[in-house]
């Protein structure tokens, strides 16, 4: 199915069907809400700094990678994973370990690859760290969450356990790498200057590119592979999925694997964007993550993507008027606003 239809009168219907297919069901209310938001943004356009929008999109890409994993886990396992931010931080530190401790021993070192501040080692560490965190997330499920699920534990117990995991991971990270700031080896680089005072750091473009590739990968996986379809089916109705012969055990593993890998990559990218690693960076990122997930409707990865971009841009734009240290509070305010107006999120199902 293609977005571009040869017959214009069919375009609306085709695109609607296409959006429905990826889980974004369009209703008149939803369309008018989006239009209103669009008009609001257009109205504000003369007053905002475009550079901040660019920063917001970069931040939003990082949030998106975390939020997609979080929303998949939330939708499929019915677990609001409070450890997700700490999976990110752990991923960033695993990459730091590889870049700082392992690769120099085999002679791979360096920073300032092309226009970027970081070096080739970070590119090697990125998939390795994703693998480690993905396996770690699966192991934690076998060790903890599966037992709780088998016992029929309530959502609150599962979330409480994830809070314990979050605390333990942060303690572990601090114990191994201390609580001081670290950073990947870096060399300072020129930012790209565009008209209208827009400055794009090359690292930001890298972050956005990685995010686009991964989001496309998640889309292909969820839409075209058997496992992706099984994951969506489990998210919609776990019992029905089980009785129709879906191997829910494998679905759970894949969910944690994808969520963990995306979280690790988000963590590394966050460390690149912020130019530093701190054990608490993941915990502090939880509020934007949950805001994006709730804005997009729990369990909906595409909603989480759009939610993440909205949250990221809003957080950065807010710095034009208010103190930048309120950025997480802006994400929280968006979340409260969504809970008041549309608790199921913009793209959530109206159950």
């Amino acid at each position: 199915m293609s977005l571009v239809s040869s017959r214009p009168q069919n375009f609306a219907r085709t695109s609607r069907r296409y959006l429905r297919r990826i889980g974004l069901r369009m209703s008149p209310g939803r369309i008018s809400a989006l239009l209103a938001a669009g008009l609001l943004i257009l109205g504000f356009l003369p007053f905002i700094k475009l550079g901040l929008v660019v920063n917001g999109l970069i931040l939003g890409s990082v949030i998106a990678l975390g939020a997609i994993g979080l929303t998949l886990v939330y939708g499929i396992l019915k677990l609001g994973n409070f450890a997700h931010g700490d999976y990110m931080a752990f991923g960033a530190y695993v990459a730091f370990f590889i870049v700082d401790g392992v690769l120099p021993r085999v002679g791979i070192e360096g920073a300032g690859l092309g226009p970027f501040t970081f070096g080739f080692p970070v590119l090697i560490a990125l998939p390795l760290s994703a693998m480690v965190v993905a396996l770690g997330a699966i192991a934690l499920d076998l060790l903890i969450y599966r037992r709780l699920r088998d016992r029929g534990a309530s959502t609150a117990i599962l979330m409480m356990a994830s809070l314990g995991v979050a605390i333990a991971i942060r303690g572990l990270v601090q114990l191994i790498w201390t609580g001081n700031t670290q950073h990947y080896p870096r060399e300072s680089r020129q930012v790209f200057h565009l008209p209208m005072d827009v400055r794009i750091p090359p690292d930001g473009m890298f972050v956005a590119l990685v995010a686009v590739i991964l989001v496309a990968g998640v889309y292909l996986l969820l839409t075209y592979t058997k496992m992706g379809k099984a994951m969506r089916a489990t998210s919609d109705n776990p019992t029905l999925a089980l009785v129709s012969g879906i191997n829910t055990k494998q679905v759970v593993w894949w969910t944690w694997g994808i969520g963990g890998a995306l979280a690790a990559i988000a963590g590394v990218l966050l460390a690149v964007v912020q130019a530093q690693l701190l054990p608490i960076m993941g915990w502090k990122f939880l509020i934007p993550l949950f805001a994006a997930v709730i804005l997009g409707g729990i369990g909906n990865p595409y909603g989480a993507l759009i939610g993440a971009l909205v949250v990221g841009v809003s957080m950065e734009l807010s710095t034009q008027w208010i103190n930048p240290s309120y950025k997480p509070a802006v994400a929280f305010a968006i979340m409260i606003g969504v809970l008041l107006a549309r608790p199921r999120g913009i793209f959530g199902d109206a159950q």
Partner: protein
């Protein structure tokens, strides 16, 4: 360290344990009796402490506080000429009211929705409260913190013996709150809360407005936390936003309730003393055991282990109420891990 030094240390330890016990009681109302998942205790902790401190502290000295303009010292400004000691109680009450109001607002927004939204929202409150006091220097002097918070009955005893007095004050307040919570949860109101915790749909089906009861429980617990925060402010007499980090102001309290047993008020108090004892005691140990990161790791492992092995906490809930029910139902309850 001579013997009087040891006793002084123990008294200081006991005061903190009592303050933590008050928080554990508040959390017990939320989680233990109603199943409300509050991971933003730090927010109520900070709100209670700052409210009490701002109401009772002397006015800011312009030499020391550049940006800090918020008055304070209502005690000596003739607004209500009661003196510092009466204002201590007004501070406690105000702390409870402020926390209750914030809980009312957040609860009204989130408690109608799924359970998990409340926990995410409490996390947001805790962080926002911290950002507020960190950035709004006019309100509470930012990261430099508030000091000169007055003592309650500070004129009565010599400064070096003051802790002996304050431990009694804290203990009396703990006992009053303990009695209040105990009475509340044994009342028909408390039975509805436990019913909500066990089965929300069944409770709603038997004609109870689940939302209202949850909201009342959330506000009640938050008010208790506010009082705990106020007591903390007058004990340490220095507040900075960094005091209220999630570890010492939220996670430790969860560990206390988990160890003591959710749904068991005496257990919550005991848990506060045990966990605070272990926490304070391990700092004298050599090597890795006194490392704060190691203790953070252990608190996480402890919470996970209790969730896996004994989700009701180590002591668990005393099922006294089931005595009036048939023995078979009571027996079924006692084997039920939840």
């Amino acid at each position: 360290m001579d013997i009087s030094g040891v006793i002084d240390y123990l008294i200081g330890f006991t005061i903190m344990a009592i303050i933590y016990a008050i928080f554990a009681l508040g959390l017990n109302v939320h989680w233990g009796f109603t199943g409300l998942f509050n991971i933003g205790i730090a927010g109520f902790f900070a709100l209670g402490a700052y409210t009490a401190a701002l109401l009772t502290s002397p006015p800011p000295d312009p030499d020391q506080f550049e940006d800090f303009i918020f008055g304070g010292d209502l005690a000596n400004q003739g607004l209500l000429d009661l003196g510092v000691d009466a204002w201590f109680f007004l501070g406690l009450a105000a702390a409870a009211v402020v926390c209750g109001l914030v809980a009312l607002i957040v609860g009204t927004i989130t408690l109608r929705l799924n359970d998990d939204y409340l926990s995410i929202a409490t996390l947001g409150i805790a962080e926002s409260v911290r950002f507020f006091f960190l950035n709004e220097k006019w309100a509470a002097n930012g990261s430099k913190g508030l000091y000169r918070i007055p003592k309650f009955l500070g004129d009565v005893v010599a400064p070096e013996n003051y802790d002996y007095l304050y431990v009694v004050v804290a203990l009396v307040i703990l006992l009053i709150l303990f009695a209040a919570v105990q009475r509340a949860v044994r009342s028909p109101w408390g039975r509805v809360l436990r019913a909500i915790r066990e089965d929300e749909v069944a409770t709603a089906a038997s004609g109870k407005n689940v939302f209202h009861f949850k909201l009342q429980s959330f506000v009640f617990g938050a008010m208790i936390m506010g009082i705990g925060g106020a007591l903390f402010a007058h004990h340490v007499r220095f507040l900075s936003p960094l005091t209220f980090d999630p570890l010492l102001a939220t996670f430790v309290i969860w560990a206390m309730l988990m160890v003591g047993g959710s749904g068991n008020n005496l257990g919550a108090v005991l848990g506060a003393f045990v966990v605070w004892g272990v926490w304070a005691g391990t700092q004298f140990l050599p090597g890795v055991f006194s490392d704060p990161s190691f203790r953070l790791l252990m608190i996480g492992v402890l919470i996970v282990a209790i969730m896996l092995l004994r989700p009701g906490g180590l002591l668990g809930e005393w099922r006294r109420i089931v005595a009036s029910r048939p023995a078979s139902a009571a027996a079924r309850d006692s084997t039920d891990p939840g």
